[in-house]
């Protein structure tokens, strides 16, 4: 069984806040749920499936279901870090295809900017079996991506200037987004002259820290027929958890090398068909490695591929993250998967900012990387088509 054509994205909402000191996380979840339902032209009582991940407070999705007053017949709290929401859309399509629900709500929200006073993010996931063999060595988010970048540079000759082009492209897009945390266009020189955080990643190679959230509504073909929104059909999905494999691993490769081909095969399209791509951009290196693994260029040539504005809408061959991405716009709850879906849907609907809207955008890809390239992560790829 395939999910191709079995479900549609009917509603999207990105919270406009980037700093929310006076709101609770459940409140933000409810606000984005309301926004996405309103966008779809549906109400809370239409929702019969709910999807959330580790950013939702409480046990499983129960606390949030109770808080929002949802009456459900399907719930899924798959946790794959920042890529969870792409997995949720895929799982929602599966549940809809199996008749387990017909209107699925997916929410994300968090307040890392209000709750954290700067510093390098060190995530302690509790008594994981790997923890005693890792925590003494002080892994933090930046160095767990830094080790992948260093190896990629060593193996393929990727340069800091090439990585910088990813930020430059994101900043070109963010200048048109009034909600973006960083709205100034930056140059390659700005990026390579910004302070070193963890070799070889500099401050401007890193995504922003922001409060906020987002939601999407996934519906059955029957429900979609009753709605007025442009029809954005889910045609392919793939997911892959990559880990250290007992100490026999290649840190220059991401799970996209497996989730991508799975999604493309299901959709029956190839990378060169894609008009717009939302690529998870926790760091610049994340984009370079993901583009290679998804097949937009050969392995090792991601640095060359992103250089010279190739990711800038209207200039390059592959317009990416036209909302400014995690690098400039928004990284709510330190989880960028939701905003990746939302901007891809905006592009397919023709609702992106006119300065960055891709012409005749009828096929888009969104990809998430949750966890870290340098240890373990969950990759998720979603391919959508405007009908």
């Amino acid at each position: 069984m395939s999910i191709k054509g079995k479900a549609y994205i009917a509603g999207i909402y990105e919270h406009p806040t980037r700093k929310a000191p006076d709101k609770t996380v459940p409140q933000l979840h409810a606000e984005v749920a309301r926004g996405a339902l309103q966008d779809a032209g549906l109400t809370k009582d239409d929702v019969d499936g709910y999807f959330c991940a580790g950013d939702a407070p409480g046990l499983g999705g129960f606390s949030m279901a109770e808080y929002m007053g949802l009456k459900l017949r399907h719930i899924d709290t798959t946790e794959t870090g920042g890529s969870a929401y792409l997995v949720h859309v895929s799982h929602a399509a599966q549940a809809i295809a199996a008749g387990k629900c017909s209107v699925a709500l997916v929410t994300l929200a968090g307040r890392p900017r209000s709750e954290r006073a700067g510093g390098l993010l060190s995530i302690n996931f509790g008594p994981a079996p790997d923890a005693p063999f890792e925590l003494p060595f002080a892994p933090v988010t930046a160095n767990r991506y830094g080790v992948s970048a260093m190896r990629h540079m060593y193996q393929y000759g990727t340069t800091s200037e090439q990585l910088a082009w990813v930020k430059v492209a994101a900043s070109h897009h963010a200048q048109y987004n009034p909600n973006a945390v960083l709205q100034d266009v930056v140059t390659v020189e700005d990026v390579v002259n910004s302070p070193m955080i963890s070799d070889p990643l500099r401050r401007l190679d890193c995504c922003v820290v922001s409060d906020g959230g987002g939601a999407v509504i996934v519906v059955s073909p029957e429900v979609m027929k009753s709605l007025k929104k442009p029809r954005v059909k889910i045609i392919g999905a793939g997911e892959f958890p990559k880990h250290l494999n007992g100490g026999k691993m290649d840190l220059t490769v991401s799970g996209a090398a497996w989730s991508g081909p799975t999604a493309f095969a299901e959709a029956g399209v190839k990378p060169s068909d894609i008009k717009y791509a939302s690529i998870y951009d926790s760091f610049t290196i994340t984009v370079v490695i993901t583009l290679e693994d998804l097949g937009f260029c050969k392995k090792g040539e991601g640095g060359k591929f992103v250089a010279d504005g190739n990711l800038i809408s209207g200039i390059g061959k592959l317009p990416f993250n036209t909302d400014g991405g995690g690098l400039c716009n928004n990284h709510p709850a330190d989880r960028g998967g939701m905003t990746k879906i939302i901007e891809a849907v905006r592009q397919l609907r023709g609702e992106a900012h006119p300065k960055v809207q891709v012409k005749n955008c009828d096929l888009a890809l969104a990809h998430g990387t949750g966890g870290s390239l340098g240890t373990r992560h969950g990759s998720a790829t979603l391919i959508m088509e405007r009908e």
Binding site: A138, V140, V147, R151, S198, P200, G247, K248, L251
Partner: protein, 132 residues
């Protein structure tokens, strides 16, 4: 430019019954690995079950304690900079560690290193590596 590696406070690892032998050996300055008697594969971090063939009687073996730097990242925006790294042991498995006792700015991928056990605050020492 040079950034000499400095000692930093290292949190003690949480010891579990299945990894007690690893930390006991660490106290003696020996690095242990796990080997599967069935499929003969080595793995790291150590587990009772082989992650390759799922045999449940993996055995401890002594590592030589030498290897090469697979990759590293000097984390600089902290009070005491340190080199987060992976080292590929001569036995063929790659492990997370820190590179120590050197100029952090001179570390290179492919460099030969040797294990050195560094004390933790209130637990067994942990395996780090210094250039040879």
């Amino acid at each position: 430019m040079a950034t000499p590696a400095q000692d930093r406070k290292i949190a003690a690892p949480a010891i579990t019954p299945d990894t007690q032998a690893f930390w006991d050996a660490a106290e003696q300055g020996t690095l242990l690995l796990k080997k599967c008697p069935k499929c003969k594969e080595l793995h790291y971090y150590p587990r009772p079950h082989c992650p390759f063939c799922f045999h449940d009687q993996t055995e401890w073996v002594e590592a030589k304690g030498t290897g090469v730097i697979y990759t590293f990242s000097v984390t600089r925006r902290v009070e005491i900079p340190y080199a987060f790294a992976y080292v590929t042991l001569d036995e063929g498995v790659t492990m997370m560690t820190n590179i120590v006792d050197c100029d952090l700015d001179a570390i290179r991928i492919g460099q030969k290193v040797k294990v050195v056990f560094k004390p933790t605050t209130d637990g067994p020492p942990v395996p780090m590596f210094a250039p040879t």
